[in-house]
């Protein structure tokens, strides 16, 4: 019977076509990070590029994530060998400058690169308004589940990962995310007064492997 054969063939082909169609809706380059919604991995990293003006931090200063509680943190992983990082550099620098004096901390994290090359790159690009820290051995990068640069993480005032952006970030995305996280932070201020206590705990958790 022809209709019977057609029915069997359709029933066999339909799941295969369905599976392929579902595959087409997915971007294999887009790996969902399990981090958003979770406590941001703690780190303590040394500043190798101080930044400029109001956003400046002393060279060699250790930045602890826990000490940034109460601020929206924009963590941008970059490298001097990364071409796409050139596209977002100016945007990040300008937007960071525009939030000076507000509870927002921009921080560059150097990924698989040497500080000298990082500094030379910043000079070549015309400077960077916010500080950058070195990440020896890509420890922080692995802790944040990094698989390429640039990647930008937005942390809320309570130190939780709110959003991860893969690839060059735009001014629009930066402003929308920062503003919404600042608004959420103002509505529900950071928990806990004892920053020092939290900080000690968080640092221990982050390095206790």
């Amino acid at each position: 019977m022809n209709w019977k054969r057609a029915l069997i063939a359709s029933a066999t082909a339909a799941p295969v076509i369905g599976l392929l169609a579902w595959g087409m809706t997915r971007d294999p380059n887009n790996i969902l990070s399990p981090l958003p919604g979770r406590e941001a991995p703690a780190f303590q990293l040394a500043v190798f590029a101080p930044g400029q003006g109001e956003l400046q931090r002393p060279m060699g200063d250790t930045v602890r994530l826990a000490s940034l509680r109460g601020k929206v943190v924009v963590l941008n992983f970059w490298a001097s060998w990364c071409l796409a990082c050139r596209d977002e550099h100016q945007v990040l620098s300008i937007v960071a400058q525009s939030y000076a004096g507000q509870p927002v901390q921009f921080l560059g994290v150097l990924y698989n690169d040497v500080p000298d090359k990082g500094r030379a790159w910043i000079a070549e690009m015309g400077g960077q308004s916010y500080p950058s820290v070195d990440d020896p051995g890509a420890r922080a990068a692995i802790d944040y589940g990094l698989y390429g640069v640039p990647e930008t993480f937005f942390l809320d005032v309570n130190g939780k990962v709110a959003y991860k952006h893969t690839g060059p970030v735009s001014a629009g995305v930066l402003r929308i995310k920062i503003d919404s996280l600042m608004a959420a932070g103002a509505a529900a201020p950071a928990k806990g007064d004892s920053v020092t206590g939290d900080s000690a705990k968080a640092v221990k958790a982050g390095t206790g492997r």
């Binding site: 399990p34 020896p136 390429g148």
Partner: protein, 178 residues
Amino acid sequence: MTGYRGLVRALLIGTVATSVAAAQAPALPAAPAGAPQDSGALRVQVQGTLSEAQKNDPKLEEMTKTVASELRCPVCQGLSIQDSPSELSQQMRTVVKEQLASGKSEQEVKDYFISKYGEWILLEPQPHGFNLLIYALPVLLVLGGAGFIVLLVKRWTAAPVAIAASGDATRTNDEIPE
């Protein structure tokens, strides 16, 4: 004509295989090509947390290899961090070794990487939930194929009987001469 059909079939199979591979392909990292190939200074700092005895411990090395072989290199295509020469893989192997040296079990180390990268980091998906389909489907297809072949063979061997039987409707199969 047969050659043409064969060609069409080969092309069709090729297309389907490529589509499936593309759908399952791991993410391509963003431009790691220009990454510095060597940064000895960084590595020295990282490996500083392992003692000399731990660095040369063959058992620890073996355990590291086992775990590293199961973890996907994030900046490669289908390679484990054990097989990949990339800098990130070497750094991840160091993390694996340090965590094992600190007393974590192999599963705990894998769980650490899953908590950072998601299950994607495992080269072989864990057999639970939707993933079970990957393990069950090949078995089901083989069983289904075997059943199909059995059905076909039965039908082919039964065909002469049916023709012979149609000649005399009153005779049963047992009465039909071999």
